[in-house]
């Protein structure tokens, strides 16, 4: 049988794309663990390991070629992203449960790579957030000395949350939200936060590190600009408008951009191509939608951070967005470009 054109050799590069994403995560992971300690690494390792194991088992069960799909790297990234989203030092069973859920229910039951309508990592994250709200909102205080014995006992699942008394602190997003609900102004709330160069201690550095990795991916065209810019634009626009309306009640743009999972979400999570919009214009709307939803949920919803919910909600809208944002075929419609 004669093959048809094109005849130039083509290399499958999915694994290369995925590898680049992993490399781009490194500065963020390093910075994150600089502030929070080994809990970040343990999170990432447990989640990624579980993800790869779950992927292997599912591939075996579905009788798919193992090597080809394991090497595509997508499972690894799902694990990494989930591990980074969950509070450091999380008990192992939490990570194992989340990662297996993400891979099995979020990915393989939909048909595996390329067929999942939802971002698997975020699906796993949201299931954990709803099922184990206490564990999922316990963050160690990055300013304190590491109390490794207690933390490792917690991670190993030998002790419960109560043993972590005095080691934890609210995240800046959580703190400001709580303070605002107590009729304090933004300024008052921020004064009680440990300061950082942009927004608040630790989190602005972590966000900057993820931003760095994201810009590197933009530069080497691993990702496209539309989704991150749409997301940061949507979030920034909302934050700006509300901040201008009443700066006492609404923290500004920098607080939102450099807190929580904003940069990780903008460059690494929302840009998952499988579950995102595929048309150039559609990607902008997709990003904008996520940005706006993040702001709305953070400000008026019940959760301090909202990247996972916003991403999943916009995943639902992807077919609609794609349908209404076609490209302009050569020679049709309005003149040039």
């Amino acid at each position: 049988m004669l093959r048809s054109s094109p005849h130039l050799p083509v290399e499958a590069r999915v694994s290369r794309i995925m590898l680049r994403v992993c490399l781009a995560l490194i500065p963020g992971i390093l910075c994150y663990s600089w502030f929070f300690g080994w809990g970040v690494i343990s999170n990432v390792l447990i989640a990624a390991g579980t993800a790869l194991l779950a992927e292997t088992l599912m591939l075996l069960w579905r009788k798919r070629p193992l090597k080809k799909h394991l090497l595509d790297g997508s499972a690894l990234i799902t694990g990494l992203l989930l591990g980074l989203s969950i509070p450091p030092y999380a008990p192992w069973w939490l990570l194992v449960f989340g990662a297996s859920f993400a891979l099995i229910f979020g990915k393989h039951l939909y048909g595996g790579l390329g067929y999942n309508p939802f971002n698997p990592a975020m699906l796993g994250f949201v299931v954990l957030l709803i099922a184990f709200p206490a564990e999922m909102s316990t963050w160690v205080n990055p300013q304190l000395e590491l109390d490794s014995p207690r933390l490792s006992a917690y991670t190993q699942g030998r002790v419960g949350l109560t043993e972590l008394d005095g080691l934890t602190a609210a995240t800046p997003l959580d703190h400001v939200k709580t303070e605002l609900s107590r009729q304090r102004t933004v300024d008052e709330a921020r004064q009680s936060l440990p300061p950082g160069p942009i927004a608040s201690y630790a989190w602005d550095w972590i966000n900057l590190a993820f931003l760095l990795g994201g810009l590197w991916m933009l530069w080497n065209r691993t990702i496209r600009w539309q989704i991150p810019f749409g997301l940061l634009g949507g979030l920034g626009l909302c934050a700006g408008v509300f901040w201008l309306a009443d700066a006492d009640l609404h923290p500004g743009l920098l607080h939102h951009w450099f807190s929580g999972a904003t940069m990780l979400g903008a460059f690494f999570i929302a840009t998952d191509p499988v579950s995102a919009s595929t048309t150039p214009r559609g990607r902008i709307y997709y990003g904008l939608g996520i940005g706006i939803l993040i702001y709305l949920i953070r400000s008026f919803g019940g959760y301090p951070d909202a990247v996972a919910f916003a991403v999943l909600l916009m995943n639902i809208c992807v077919p609609l967005i794609d349908h209404y944002t076609p490209t302009r075929t050569y020679g049709s419609g309005r003149g040039q470009h």
């Binding site: 290399e11 499958a12 191509p273 499988v274 050569y330 049709s332």
Partner: protein, 701 residues
């Protein structure tokens, strides 16, 4: 600001998307044009162009001379074939020919007598000053020289030299862009025969009445640009401008080239002519010049033999019909087990063997090294959208792929599947290594197939409906006859004194009945004028049969005139195009194989478009019917030809086809009254028929 981030593949000037591919071109001395040795035998396929195949004019055993016309066609869109060597015709039979389908096709095989003896006098005279010839003569000679687009599309050149009286050509563009890797035959030609290119350009510019002439070149052929500049400076033709654009694939595609050079886009369902542009390949232009100036028919062309699997890659001047194997042998043979591709690596097609001949459209024989079929590295689509960024037609290849895969062909068409030029950029960048273009070809073929079947079903349905109507009409007539009979009987009972009479014809000698009959005849006459009333008064079966025969004859005549008329008119182009379109729709499947970047393909796609867009089915059916009716002037379908006759007589043959189709769409009850028409004039017959039918309808009431 956003433009900054659009850079890379899509933000460059000119057309959207595209790729930068490694060139692998033959430059300098390596790329010089060398004559290939005369072949021992040539295989000349009867169809080396887009359009109707030619008919062999020679017989097996006949001796032919170089340049002798050996096959021709009456069709307007066709190009004759000439013997490329002198020798004996040894075979006229299906042979392996270069075609994407890999199917055999009729070809004339000539065995060389090694004399290479030319015709004593050429078919048309060489012309010292070609610029003195009028356009009609030029077109005629270009056609007789068998010239087709040499860029790969092989659309008959004479057709493209005839933009029609209404067209307004502003710009002639010469396509000197060989965007595919490895191919350098045009670059070599421009470098070594720049004067022929420039002179040909000026000749064509004058024929078309274009104000300006642009020659598009990529920046990877600086020697060609320099040679052309020098030729322009030496000649004093003026308005010929060289535009060098950055190398990017598929810039050599007609639409992309136009966009890159002028910034204009060819309308989706249109031709470059619609925006005042005509594009010719530089090789074609030089060949046109040679044909006019030196009376040389198209019997050779420049072919690049290149690729990692050939020992001595080079550009060769090759006699048409030369088997590829002889070229390979001349180039030192294969280095390893070869994989042969005709054309470039992006859009060429694989050859099944090296026994196939070089044809008019062969610009390159690419010798790749055969590799063991790699393990299946295809991964699922991850919707990354890289294909969207590189698509020169600005489609959504990824969504097209999903729809084609899901066999949702209607959705694929909504996504403008037929605007895909199959350039292969998407497949080239796909990180999952999905053979995207194959999916698009598959979808296109399936759609063509479905349309063909639908057309068949429509014809069958029409026949059925027509039969139903005929049966109903017959039943009505019987009922009518019975009613009259009853009436007659009734009257007979009432007036037993009256003489018996045939119930079917005139009622009786009875005064009342006579009055009724008279009134009826009067009414009929009022309604239907002469022929119709005569018909209604003519109950005799024999005369009806005669009338029927006459009417049929009249319709056959009308159909014939409808067929022959436009072809006899001065404006043959429109007619020919219409015919070609009709024919093409009939054999739509063949199109999947044709080169889509081709200029001819644009015309072709225009026809397709009509059959695929908003009201695709109706248009396609209409065309199919038009074609069918033109072919068969008997039976039910001939009915429609008669009214269409006058329209076909007009110069606009397309309108005729539409009219025919429309007429065909409503095979009305009128046809039941067909036998009554008597006049030989088809128009009058049609009018009469209609009127008769009306009369017939109104009578029973």
């Amino acid at each position: 600001m956003f433009g900054l981030f659009k850079s890379g593949r899509s933000g460059q000037s000119g057309f959207h998307g595209g790729l930068t591919l490694p060139g692998h071109k033959l430059h300098g001395e390596a790329g010089r044009i060398r004559p290939a040795p005369l072949p021992d035998k040539v295989i000349l396929p009867l169809s080396q162009h887009i359009g109707a195949p030619t008919r062999a004019l020679v017989k097996v055993g006949e001796r032919v001379l170089r340049g002798q016309l050996i096959a021709d066609s009456d069709s307007f869109i066709a190009a004759p074939v000439h013997a490329s060597i002198s020798g004996t015709v040894v075979e006229i039979a299906p042979c392996a020919v270069p075609h994407a389908s890999g199917l055999a096709a009729m070809a004339i095989v000539i065995e060389s007598d090694h004399a290479d003896e030319g015709l004593p006098t050429p078919d048309w005279p060489a012309t010292e000053d070609p610029f003195s010839l009028d356009a009609q003569t030029l077109r005629e000679r270009v056609r007789r020289a068998g010239l087709v687009g040499l860029g790969g599309a092989a659309f008959p050149s004479s057709v493209k030299l005839n933009p029609g009286s209404s067209a307004n050509v502003n710009t002639l563009i010469l396509n000197g862009i060989e965007c595919e890797p490895y191919i350098s035959c045009d670059a070599a030609l421009m470098q070594e025969h720049a004067d022929a290119v420039i002179a040909g350009a000026e000749l064509i510019r004058r024929v078309l009445g274009a104000q300006e002439c642009l020659i598009g070149l990529e920046d990877n052929a600086p020697e060609a640009a320099a040679a052309l500049r020098q030729a322009i400076n030496q000649a004093d033709y003026g308005d010929i401008e060289i535009r060098v654009v950055p190398t990017r694939y598929p810039q050599g595609g007609e639409k992309q080239l136009i966009q890159a050079l002028t910034g204009k886009e060819v309308p989706r369902e249109g031709l470059p002519l619609d925006i005042g542009i005509v594009v010719h390949n530089v090789g074609t232009v030089a060949a046109i010049w040679r044909a006019i100036r030196y009376a040389q028919p198209l019997i050779s062309r420049i072919v690049t033999v290149n690729g990692p699997g050939i020992r001595q890659p080079q550009n060769l001047e090759v006699r048409l019909g030369t088997p590829v194997a002889e070229l390979i042998a001349h180039c030192g043979g294969y280095t390893q087990t070869p994989r042969l591709i005709m054309g470039g690596p992006m859009m060429g097609f694989a050859l099944s063997s090296d026994a196939v001949p070089v044809v008019k459209a062969t610009n390159c024989i690419l010798v790749e090294v055969a590799q063991a079929e790699p393990a299946d590295t295809t991964l699922p689509c991850i919707r990354c959208g890289e294909c969207v960024d590189v698509c020169p037609a600005n489609l959504l290849p990824q969504q097209l792929y999903w729809q084609a895969r899901a066999k949702a062909f209607d959705k694929a068409q909504e996504l403008d599947l037929f605007d895909c030029i199959e350039c292969g950029c998407c497949a080239q960048v796909c990180p999952s290594n999905i053979p995207l273009v194959q999916y698009y070809r598959y979808a296109k073929t399936e759609i063509y197939q479905a349309e063909k079947e639908k057309r068949k079903a429509d014809i069958a349905r029409n026949r059925h409906e027509f039969r139903q109507q005929r049966l109903e009409a017959e039943a009505r007539e019987k009922e009518e006859a019975r009613r009259r009979k009853r009436e007659a009987l009734k009257q007979k009972k009432q007036t037993p004194a009256a003489a018996p009479a045939s119930a079917k014809t005139t009622p009786a000698n009875d005064a009342i009945a006579a009055a009724i009959a008279k009134a009826k005849a009067e009414k009929a006459r009022r309604l239907a004028q002469e022929p119709a009333s005569a018909a209604s008064a003519q109950p005799d079966a024999i005369s009806a049969a005669i009338a029927k025969a006459q009417a049929q004859k009249a319709q056959r005549l009308a159909a014939d005139s409808g067929k022959a008329d436009p072809a006899a008119r001065t404006d043959q182009v429109a007619a020919a195009i219409a015919k070609a379109r009709a024919a093409r729709t009939a054999s739509a499947t063949a199109e999947a194989a044709a080169d889509p970047v081709a200029p001819g393909a644009a015309a072709k796609r225009k026809a397709d478009r009509a059959s695929t867009t908003t009201d695709p089915v109706a248009a396609a059916i209409a065309k199919a019917r038009a074609a069918k009716q033109a072919a068969s002037a008997s039976g039910d379908t001939a009915e429609a030809v008669a009214p269409a006759g006058p329209a076909a007589g007009k110069q606009d043959a397309v309108a005729a086809a539409i009219a025919q189709a429309k007429a065909a769409r409503k095979p009305t009850p009128e046809s039941a009254s067909k036998p009554h028409a008597k006049t030989p004039d088809p128009v009058a017959a049609a009018i009469a028929k209609a009127k008769a039918a009306k009369a017939a309808r109104e009578k029973p009431s």
